[in-house]
């Protein structure tokens, strides 16, 4: 069975796929989105909904983060309430003089690249976060760090796209690609053949598997992370608060377990507690060590948390990219194939920027930002030595 063709077929209905769909319909393109499971059922439903600039270093990732931030608070502001957008601000806490020195170095560089950040002393920190550990020696405050409820983002972006004619097919798994010579002209799925002018890989951590179907190498690997959710409480954590070591964890390529505290409240009153990073494939085996370390780190940062109940924990798989940059744009190795994946832990925040830039390129326009640094073909045709499997 072959369905009517569309201009764009998006593989993956997570935040990135939903944003691609939304912006493609705004460009006047006809769009179909498929997902192996329910929309947002993968990484998007297992994260914290971060829109951060504080953990970015200068470079193309920061440019994309800033571009996305402007969209969230600009042209998408009318939907802010439906996805619980909150400009809560981020605080990076240094507990030792040495980490304060590295934090200062990082924020000086960030400031040069337009990030709004203030260094604050221990007293000012306590004024912003009265319950934080008194052991902190200093901190940096990023007023632009924001948060959304990711499942609402996915649901509403897809609803917007559907309102402009997009079709969303959940529980539809891609089994192969349709070709005309070397050109990719659609996907074969469990719900029939779906022809399209362009096939967009928004498969998140499953992008390597999908790309293999298309015959191209894309070394995006799952990087597992845990989040714990507490009982609902009256507000006692007012920003996204994390330790200076988190930046190092984000930037490392180490595959073993790393853990640093990230603590923040949600509008529902519960507190989300992270974070851990480990490369264990798509394993669902519970790591008691990761949970223990997250709890120990969080209670060190906020001592009152010792008596707070955790109701549940969940884990998700971030789409890790070996050079910490996403893959966005046309794949020169396979005509008709495009990518929008590999954002690791920043995919919710950068979803809208990614979607808008890719839609511009798909519609034949020059994107607002240069996509060259995100070239999906940059990893070459084989796994680099020492890279993730």
């Amino acid at each position: 069975m072959t369905a009517r063709g569309t201009d764009v077929l998006v593989i993956g209905a997570g935040a990135v796929g939903a944003a691609v769909a939304h912006y493609c319909t705004l460009q006047g393109l006809s769009v179909r989105v498929v997902d192996r499971g329910a929309p947002g059922g993968g990484t998007s439903s297992r994260c914290e909904g971060n829109i951060l600039v504080s953990d970015k270093e200068r470079g193309p990732e920061l440019d994309l983060a800033n571009y996305s931030l402007a969209l969230w608070h600009g042209e998408l502001a009318e939907h802010a309430e439906s996805w619980e957008l909150e400009r809560k601000g981020g605080i990076i806490v240094a507990s030792r003089e040495t980490s304060l020195v590295s934090l200062r170095r990082a924020l000086t560089a960030q400031r040069e690249h337009g990030i709004e950040v203030q260094e604050i002393d221990a007293e000012a920190l306590l004024a912003l976060e009265p319950h934080v550990s008194p052991g902190a020696v200093g901190a940096a405050f990023y007023p632009d760090d924001s948060q959304v409820m990711p499942m609402q983002v996915v649901a509403h972006l897809l609803a917007l796209a559907r309102g402009r004619g997009a079709e969303v097919l959940p529980y539809c798994e891609v089994t192969g690609l349709m070709r005309e010579g070397e050109r990719i002209i659609g996907a074969r799925t469990t719900r029939g053949d779906l022809p399209a002018g362009a096939v967009v890989d928004a498969a998140g951590p499953w992008a390597a598997r999908f790309s293999a179907l298309a015959g191209v190498h894309l070394p995006i690997a799952p990087r597992r992370g845990y989040v714990m959710v507490t009982e609902p409480l009256p507000p006692r954590v007012f920003h996204k608060v994390y330790a200076a070591e988190y930046i190092d964890d984000v930037g490392t390529s180490d595959t073993s377990l790393q853990s640093s505290p990230v603590v923040e409240s949600t509008p529902a009153g519960s507190i989300l507690i992270g974070s851990s990073r480990e490369q264990v494939g798509f394993s669902d085996a519970i790591s008691r060590e990761a949970l223990q370390r997250i709890a120990a780190n969080a209670t060190a940062l906020f001592p009152f948390l010792r008596d707070v109940h955790v109701l549940r924990h969940y884990h998700g798989f971030r789409p890790y990219s070996p050079d910490h940059l996403p893959a966005i744009g046309a794949d020169a190795r396979a005509t008709g194939l495009w990518h929008a994946t590999g954002h690791e832990g920043a995919g919710i925040g950068m979803s809208v920027g990614t979607g808008k830039l890719l839609a511009q390129a798909l519609a034949g326009h020059r994107p607002d930002l240069d996509l060259d640094p995100f070239d999906p073909a940059r990893f070459g045709d084989a796994a680099p030595a020492g890279g993730p499997r």
Binding site: P39, G40, T230, I286, T299, H309, V310, R312
Partner: protein
Amino acid sequence: MSEIAAVVVIGAGPAGLAAAAEAARGSDRVLLVDAGPRLGGQFWRHGAKDDLPQAPAPRWHHGWDTYLELRTDLERAEAAGRLEHLASTHVAALDVREDGLLALHLALSPTGEQLTTLLAETVVLCPGAYDRQLPVAGWTLPGVMAAGGVQAFVKVQEQVPGRRVLLAGTGPFLLAAAASVLQAGGEVAAICESGDLTGWVPRGASAALVPGKGREGAQYAALLVRHRVPYLRRRVVSRIHGTDRVESVEISRADDRGAQVPGTAQVLEDIDVVGLGWGFVPQAELLLQAGAASRLDVDGSLVGVVDGEQASSVPGLFLAGEITGVTGASGAVAEGRIAGRAAAGRVSGRAAESSRKDASARSRHRLFASAMHRAHPAPAGWADSLDEGTVVCRCEEVTLAEITAARDELGARDPRSLKGVTRAGMGMCQGRICAAAMTCFGTDPLEAARTTAKRPFALPLTLGTLASAEEGTE
């Protein structure tokens, strides 16, 4: 705990007590872990004085003799150093390790001063069940309880939670709960049974299989007649009224799907307590954590798949009692005995001695339970006439309107998406109360039941407890 336990029995209700007693005959390293301070579980829940020597049997209990026998068996095994009972201990999580051992993560109290890991060669999981609830207008008012909660109150407090009680829902348990209220000196305004009980002949073929059930039923019937309690078939609670707490209850006729028939409402005044019960939901979180195979039972419950020895699909993990299908206490005891023997036999390498008596009791009780479940289905039409504004998830205060909007306008058509978009089931009870309601919004009932029963911690744990977790025998 430095050594590896041979058999750990989780739960000290009828199934768990029987499993522990039998396991201790075949093994000298048996541990019985239970959240309660005393043996007995929900079914034989009792106060401290009921355990004193020569204490009279509490009048609201059935099978108290069986409890006393099992308790004596366990005390002997404990005295002989073959068994240890860890009371007030919660199993927060159950993992299957790569070496085949089962790891239990124990919290030593609800707040859990410390989380310890206990390793076991085999586990007999007997976690029991809790009341299945369905939303109805006014069900968040103080005074509205689960029917099982009403009975538990009587068993422990030896008094009624309110003077005049209405029991509603479906199933014979409503009769048991009503009897407890009457025996504790309370008044039962009525019992509303949503079914019409066609095809259910209490003295028919299935009841003949388990004479005890017939006797129990006859005793309830006599008690209800004596107290002139109206037993209303095909009636459902359509609205609970009250300002600060329950004051009156509107009941309506129910159609074939259990939905309210408009225009048939009748108000029962002067009600203090409403006990609602739509059957029981087995506590499946540890089963799912261990990755054991599960299926839907006749009553829509998610239960574990077992073989003739009560073994689950996970090597070393045995299941007994309501977790294999809601059959009641006597069936649970039979299953517990079989499972306890099989677990000890697996450890010793000696094949478990089979007992035809237990196996036959097990099949009779299962047959009886299936007939009972078929006669008392949780009504498919419960939501048909529900007010849009009715709260479905009480913890996160999510209304029916919000859930249907997420489904119809945002395309959230499965329980997991609905939960993610609306937060229904994410609160303090982790979806225990709204699970039955939320599974009705899914297209795949088995997947829906698994989604709503999946809980990575079986109880809330403090971060202090989690931070102090030690790996025990690693």
